[in-house]
Point group: C2
Chain length 426, copies 2
């Protein structure tokens, strides 16, 4: 069978007419489906309800006797710092327990760097004129919105299967002191699902920034979120940094938003001791500490890394079939058309789809017009601009399997229409 | 009996020798007591444990069907906005549910005003050179630390029993556009315990700021924290503002840190609709929302204002005896000395003590030297500087009644020593 690229225009017109009929059938069905955000559904959230069933009287005192219901323990309770530190491969002295949102923790870290500066920096970012951040693309839209909010220029860095283009990163970081940071989702990257190779992580650790206040924002959102037998292996960046003495360059973030509850979990910042001391002093002006009852609730439920992994196995078993359903629909609907490629991740929350250049917006609009909501085309790029207008982020986690099947069917029809229209217009 | 002021120096020397003996007896007792912070003790925290005993499956869905375990509802769940809005006398559209710390919410509001500006302001605070904040004194140390962190000059405004000196406030606010804000604890003020009079609140509402981006930081921390039969009556500042069309000038804050759990409650920001819209947009860059499970946990437990007040009655019954114990100790120990005055509040967490000028630091040091920790002298003033060195904040809530009795006894001895030393040195 010919791919759409190999067809004659007559064949394409015939194919397009077929697809338009299928599209009208779907329109008539009156769909109202949402594949726009990477969030768990209610059944997946149910997998964590036992955490909330613990006897609250068992959740009063930490092992050293602190009453978690009261003020104190600014940077979090020891057992939480220890558990999440060990998950990230750092000591508890390298951990601050934040609120319940790692995004808020990142925003907070950026705004404080902007106004108050970072450890070792000669002055606050905000007093240095025009600033830049590097943005591996496609990437996480909410990262980009933070840097946009502060007027920081964002520079696209292409992603491959091994991570960002490190030659380009090195060139920018080492030559331009106005480059203050880079956004990274190093494991099961949002949205491509790739995990940075060991070589990539080592290249990060080896950076010699032109700025004295450059930071890598290492958003390890999916640190334990593999859903297949084969789990990707991410090199511990702090281990890599030891060789170069560059530990102060990294802020690592994580949360349990996709481990327990989205928006009611715990968030974590890991960093070198000087960074932690610097940030803890700043934090001491801001608050008397975050919700320690919730910290203890999490730790007592997981108990240890093995408990956390066992918990994540339940999530994996629940999520994997949704991804397999979406991937099967893509293969069946588009596998022989030659108009798109997509990722097949071992974990995380997304499939990244690349169609023909100039078709993504049209496809998302076609879907929206008949009741299937996708992440806006371009969302995975700074300023919402996909230079090639080809990338669409597919988030299979929230819809039910039957909704997902319907949604993916509509997506494939709309991809075919958008591609055929594009090819016929050339 | 003569007061210390009326005594001859010989009488004072004799008295001082007596007190020094009492002091040595206390030193020999090897005390380790803490009256430094206004926080609840474990028994008081127990009064809220039923909130944590609720069935978590009853805490999944809001009345409009939102799953609180998931992302969404950026500004908080409706029933929480409604309950806390009604407590503050504003509509739910005037409320943002913050995290668990009103201090963090205030910090966040200041830093965003600094970098991003406020509604109606021509540019961000941080781009306007030298800035000032008005600080009613004595006041809350953690407020002052926030403005100090951002290099904002703090100006002392004397407090009376009816609130800050409003003539002075008006003069500064209406003549100087670099005055960007004022810190207020309008009810059961920290530490004096006074509640601003209706006239004071109306004077706030009537302010015509020279700056287009001036804000009143109305920290209503003790909005429902009366512990006596007679509850102070605070005029709703938003009602007062209506007359002058000045609603946009006020940010009101509260939390349940002293209602349920200190550091694991919910925090609230109330403001005019334009402010709320402006702040909600900013918040949408920062996070997907705060812990909604905890919001629903609070609302379902209180049910309504009557439920909240009934809950606070338990706290009042627990706290009142501690205050009465501290007040009795002050009366017994210092009532006939003429060396000090103190407040007798109907609510809140503090007694504010004014000794002879030049004695506060000495008294706090004397207490510390034999194991009784007080809030540092000067803490209730910007930069930690009490111009008269006479104010000490007494926090009776945390120690047990027996510890409190011992601590107050030591405090009175140290006050007498410090005053006698001072009088003898003159």
């Amino acid at each position: 069978m010919k791919t759409f690229l190999e067809m004659t225009n007559d064949q394409r017109r015939e194919k397009l007419a077929q697809q338009q009929k299928l599209y009208e059938v779907q329109r008539a069905a009156g769909l109202d489906l949402d594949m726009s955000r990477g969030k768990p559904d209610a059944n997946q959230l149910n997998l964590s309800m036992d955490m909330l069933q613990q006897n609250p009287y068992d959740l009063i005192y930490t092992r050293k006797g602190t009453d978690v219901r009261n003020y104190g323990e600014l940077a979090g309770v020891d057992e939480a710092k220890e558990l999440f530190g060990s998950v990230l491969g750092v000591g508890m002295e390298n951990v601050i327990m934040g609120g319940q949102s790692s995004l808020a923790l990142m925003y907070d870290t950026v705004i404080k760097a902007y106004v108050l500066g970072v450890y070792g920096g000669s002055k606050p970012w905000g007093q240095q004129g025009h600033l830049k951040f590097l943005c591996p693309v496609p990437g996480y839209d909410r990262h980009f919105r933070i840097t946009q909010e502060f007027g920081i220029e964002m520079i696209n860095i292409p992603m491959s299967e091994t991570g960002p283009d490190m030659a380009m990163v090195k060139e920018y970081v080492e030559s331009d002191p106005s480059v203050k940071g880079i956004w990274c989702v190093p494991k099961y990257s949002n949205p491509t699902g790739c995990t940075y190779s060991h070589e990539t992580v080592r290249a990060f650790a080896a950076l010699k920034p032109a700025a004295d206040d450059f930071r890598i924002f290492w958003d390890n959102a999916y640190f334990v979120h593999g859903f297949r037998q084969e789990d990707d292996d991410l090199l511990n960046i702090f281990d890599a940094c030891k060789e170069f003495g560059s530990e102060d360059m990294v802020y690592e973030f994580m949360s349990t938003s996709k481990v327990t509850f989205s928006g009611a979990g715990v968030a974590v910042l890991a960093a070198s001791k000087p960074n932690i001391q610097f940030l803890t002093r700043q934090m001491g002006v801001q608050t008397l500490g975050y919700d320690k009852i919730n910290q203890l609730r999490h730790v007592r439920y997981f108990k240890n890394i093995a408990g956390l992994k066992a918990h994540m196995q339940k999530q994996a078993n629940y999520l994997r079939p949704k991804f397999d359903c979406a991937l099967a629909a893509l293969e069946k609907g588009l596998g022989d058309t030659g108009i798109g490629t997509w990722t097949n991740p071992n974990g995380g929350y997304f499939i990244s789809y690349d169609g023909l250049p100039g078709t993504a917006k049209r496809c998302v609009q076609l879907c929206a017009d008949i009741g299937v909501k996708l992440t806006p085309a371009g969302a995975a790029f700074p300023y919402g601009i996909d230079p090639e207008d080809k990338n669409i982020r597919i988030a299979p986690s929230y819809p039910s399997t039957s909704e997902l099947y319907k949604s993916m069917n509509v997506f494939c029809i709309c991809q075919r229409i958008a591609a055929l229209e594009k090819l016929l217009a050339e």
